[in-house]
């Protein structure tokens, strides 16, 4: 009788001549095709569909080979080989979000982990040039020593590589003042999908210097920005720096340090008071309307460097264990309606006192109450991790104790917060909850970022199914797709759709034009004539679209049909 063994998942192999050519570029030490190596590069992170594909033992998730180049020239040579042999490749840093699923062809992973140097910090012209594996924490640590910083840190933590975030948008907690990362890029040097080198901005003019994002001719930086890694591989990125008024490094945490035997002791979660020349205020509101009104007033007043609302998410960020998190969600330990404001003495020592007066007036007018030693001091104390995290975010993925399967991530004017929250609640009623965290993240508050002086906002509500239960993951996935449909139907703002392997805005939003996706396809054909760069992500060729799962295709076309758009074929 045959033994009932689980089915193995077998990787594809690159043709030997391709492997040899790649080995000649990076050397034997930096090329891998062993089974256990490629497993660790087969996308399995925070997105529902690849979890399901893992459960289904889909072999197409496994790349064929991993190479680790060490220079722009090596990347260029690798990409040219990929074009010559029509081998798809995927640029890879942390591998959390932007690592497209591999496809039926043997696929190459280009892991950039060896390119982790800060190439220069220009203290005169306020910029830093980085290799693609440099993260926010590294840059900030070096810049702070020079009285500078890069202006922000993503809530997805300071481990994000700036070159990867360039492929997204780069959402910061301090972008009230400094704007998104995409407003802070001076230039990129990248290897295009066909192996050519592109240098953007003033840097491309010999001897002009690296000071301005716009170069001669069309805005090529803009064209490449937020392309989710489909437009090539960034090998150098120059970002703007700003004045830093805190200390040269973060102070040691006085409460001591945990160890493996007492890591969950609450005593270890209290960092010190806010950093030098910075002050963090927490404000509670009686309802969502008051919160949003206050956020608008604060943003428009021109004060503060950061303004965001965490809602129930503080229970995730500031609790030592999952049990504590759930308990705090249930008991509504943290205020449902809140926001935090970061003030800084950038222009003078009097800046914080002045801005605090303005802030207090706005809070009074909107019926808010500051958390303080007399109002919920225990809550204020529990929120102390934010004293550091608002500047260099570390604890963010506490929210992600199970898996982070899907999110509704609309962007829009502040007023749209009400509509998006209503829709989320309806979705929960329709689908049923996966977990308490769904309900907590929606009914009580979505995360709200006031971006760029409150010109628009970013909202987030998330979904956390159990990673070992495919049925829960499917429900989470359906949630996400339903969310897209809802936003399209209600004409809510465009959203970031990193967590769905479906064609983005260009297919869905009628305002862009019925055939915008065809224009994007043409652009892709220009930059990527052989369709080798991260295929299966963002903009699809006809061939890739044909390979798409039928149910996803049907979902996309159903959404288009709602708006009387022709089906994508």
């Amino acid at each position: 009788m045959a033994e009932n063994k689980p089915r193995k998942v077998v990787q594809k192999r690159l043709p030997r001549e391709v492997y040899s050519a790649l080995k000649n570029v990076v050397g034997e030490r930096w090329i891998y095709e062993q089974r256990s190596v490629v497993e660790t590069y087969s996308k399995l992170s925070i997105e529902a569909s690849t979890f399901l594909r893992k459960h289904e033992k889909d072999p197409h998730l496994l790349p064929a080979c991993v190479v680790l180049p060490n220079s722009t020239e090596e990347i260029q040579a690798i990409v040219k080989i990929c074009n010559r042999y029509r081998v798809p490749f995927i640029p890879f840093t942390n591998g959390q979000v932007f690592c497209a699923p591999t496809n039926a062809q043997p696929t190459l992973i280009i892991h950039l982990s060896r390119m982790n140097k800060i190439l220069r910090i220009d203290t005169e012209n306020l910029s830093a040039t980085l290799q693609p594996y440099v993260d926010y924490g590294q840059l900030q640590a070096e810049a702070m020593k020079r009285g500078l910083w890069n202006g922000g840190c993503p809530l997805a933590t300071s481990l994000c590589k700036l070159a990867s975030q360039y492929s997204f948008a780069g959402l910061w907690q301090t972008d009230l003042k400094y704007g998104l990362l995409n407003r802070n890029i001076v230039s990129v040097k990248m290897v295009l999908p066909d192996g050519e080198i592109l240098v953007t901005g003033s840097r491309c003019i010999p001897k002009a210097g690296d000071f301005w994002e716009y170069g001669p001719g069309p805005d090529l930086l803009g064209l490449q920005r937020a392309a989710a890694g489909t437009s090539g591989i960034v090998t150098e990125i120059t970002v703007k720096l700003h004045t830093w008024v805190g200390d040269a490094s973060f102070p040691e945490i006085p409460a001591g340090r945990p160890s493996l035997v007492d890591v969950h002791e609450p005593k270890y979660d209290s960092p010190p008071a806010p950093l030098k020349n910075h002050k963090l205020y927490w404000i509670e509101f009686k309802d969502f309307q008051s919160q949003i009104r206050a956020m608008r007033e604060i943003a428009h007043a021109g004060i503060a460097i950061g303004l965001n609302a965490t809602g129930v998410y503080s229970a995730f960020y500031c609790s030592q264990t999952q049990e504590m998190t759930i308990q705090r969600c249930r008991t509504k330990f943290f205020p449902d309606w809140n926001c935090y404001v970061i003030l800084a003495n950038i222009t003078s020592d009097q800046q914080i006192p002045y801005e605090e007066r303005v802030l207090r007036q706005i809070v009074e007018e909107t019926g808010g109450i500051f958390l303080s030693e007399t109002h919920k001091p225990e809550v204020l104390d529990a929120l102390k991790p934010w004293n550091y995290d608002c500047i260099r975010h570390t604890t963010g993925f506490r929210m992600n104790r199970k898996m982070y399967a899907n999110a509704w991530l609309p962007v829009g004017p502040l007023d749209s917060a009400f509509e998006t929250t209503e829709q989320w609640k309806k979705a929960l009623d329709l689908f049923g909850e996966c977990d308490i965290t769904d309900r907590g993240g929606a009914d009580d508050t979505p995360f709200v970022y006031a971006l760029q002086r409150g010109h628009f906002c970013f909202f987030e509500t998330d979904n956390y199914p159990d990673p070992v239960l495919p049925e829960e993951i499917k429900k989470a996935q359906a949630f996400g797709i339903y969310g897209n449909a809802v936003f399209v139907t209600h004409n809510l703002g465009p959203m970031l759709m990193a967590f769905l392997n479906v064609e983005p805005l260009t297919t869905m939003f009628p305002e862009v034009g019925p055939n915008a996706h065809l224009l994007m396809r043409k652009l892709r054909e220009v930059f990527d004539p052989n369709s080798v760069c991260a295929p299966g992500r963002q903009v699809f060729t006809e061939e890739e679209w044909r390979q798409f799962p039928e149910d996803i295709k049907a979902a996309v076309n159903k959404m288009r049909a709602m708006h009387n758009l022709p089906a994508v074929v």
Partner: protein
């Protein structure tokens, strides 16, 4: 095993890979297992924390990568024949615990325990360990020490030291020396200085001498649970028979084993005597003025936290208190300290099987120490000292290496008139 399913109460050494199923599926690829806790990053150069990932740059060497390998093995996506290379990924780990430290703070996951459970499964299935590790196991099985040294040599370090042999006379306190310092004569000074300090402080100190047996730490870390269980049981019996009231050891491996690993072995009686690390015990003696550091030791030093002492067991402050108590000593901290300390590279069997990697890791620590401007690196772990000593011999940059108790002896010895 699902995420919220009530898990059966199991001791660590009872657990199988399947007990971690929800954890290995749930890894979020956040990458904190490879990096300094964000609040601690002080420079780009020293921003990473996993020695193996830092050296090899590919994910299977990281905590995250091992979670993914464990998941695939557990689900039968591949097996040993398909991936013989994974033996190296799993055994290059120094078991420094940095990955688990950060992951637990963020996500309640335990990549080090997953890795150690993988090792145990490898050994059970005959896939592991590495040949170099098999020699250590054989040594413990046949000689009661991993270094295959004759038992008769075990107490040679003590010839010049006033200490009782518990085989001949009773004592209140057992000095558990450990195999590495007992057999490596370049490390005898660790054992000798510790014994001298405790003797001077009036501690009624005894040792097992030739009868001492390995604590089992290297065997536990390698994953041979069966041999470890036997060793643990023999040690507990020996200790209980001796009638000692407390145990002092300066070896963080022995300390962790006696204090935290033995209780995780199923079916073992509880070890009755209290277990202390020499640093915490001597710091207390200094506080009580039973040891007085009256001599000036003019030296700029930096303290290297041994992983199994600091991150594993939480002893960070005691050695620093001792250093601050010595007149003339100026303690300058490195960037990566305490729970975020960089490993020396010598633990978890890495030095035995991957000496080049172990040395490269030690060299990185020495470079970090040198940046502080310190003249000397001070630590208290035979594995760290051995590994750092080798690397210092290679780099020859003038940096000195001291065991903590060598400095205490210098500071507390009465000057001969």
């Amino acid at each position: 095993m699902t995420y919220y399913e009530k898990k059966p109460e199991k001791k660590f050494f009872e657990k199988e890979l399947v007990d971690y199923r929800d954890m290995v599926w749930g890894c979020a690829r956040c990458n904190w297992c490879q990096n300094q806790w964000g609040w601690n990053v002080k420079s780009a150069e020293f921003s990473e924390i996993c020695p193996a990932f830092h050296e090899f740059r590919i994910f299977p060497y990281s905590g995250m990568g091992k979670m993914h390998i464990a998941r695939a093995l557990l689900e039968g996506d591949f097996d040993y024949d398909d991936a013989p290379e994974m033996l190296d990924f799993i055994y290059t780990c120094t078991t420094c615990g940095a990955c688990e430290m950060n992951c637990q703070r963020l996500q309640d996951k335990e990549p080090l325990k997953v890795n150690e459970t993988l090792r145990a499964q490898f050994v059970r299935d005959g896939f592991g360990p590495k040949p170099e590790h098999k020699r250590l196991i054989t040594g413990v099985q046949h000689y009661d020490n991993p270094w295959m040294q004759p038992r008769s040599q075990r107490d040679r370090w003590a010839r010049t030291v006033p200490i009782k042999d518990l085989g001949r006379e009773p004592a209140q306190t057992l000095f558990f020396v450990g195999c590495t310092a007992a057999f490596n004569n370049t490390l005898w000074k660790m054992a000798q200085s510790t014994a001298m300090i405790l003797h001077e402080a009036g501690i009624d100190l005894g040792m097992f001498g030739k009868q001492e047996i390995c604590c089992g730490s290297p065997i536990a870390r390698i994953g041979d649970r069966e041999t470890f269980f036997t060793i643990a049981r023999r040690n507990i019996d020996l200790i209980h028979t001796s009638g000692v009231r407390q145990i002092i050891t300066f070896c963080p491996g022995c300390y962790r084993s006696l204090k935290y690993d033995y209780p995780e072995v199923p079916g073992l009686p509880k070890l009755k005597p209290a277990v202390y690390h020499a640093a915490e015990y001597i710091a207390q003696l200094i506080d009580e003025e039973r040891i007085t550091c009256h001599n000036t030791v003019p030296l700029k030093v930096t303290w290297h936290d041994p992983c199994h002492l600091g991150r594993h067991c939480g002893i960070y402050e005691a050695p620093r208190r001792i250093l601050r108590a010595i007149p003339g000593i100026e303690l300058i901290e490195m960037e990566r300290i305490k729970d975020q300390a960089w490993c020396c590279g010598g633990g978890g069997g890495a030095r035995a099987a991957y000496p080049d990697f172990a040395r490269a890791t030690a060299l990185k620590r020495i470079a970090e120490a040198q940046k502080t401007g310190a003249q000397a690196l001070v630590t208290q772990c035979p594995f760290c000292e051995q590994n750092l000593m080798d690397a210092l011999a290679q780099v020859q940059n003038g940096m000195q290496l001291f065991d903590l108790n060598e400095l205490v002896i210098r500071a507390s010895q009465k000057t001969k008139k």
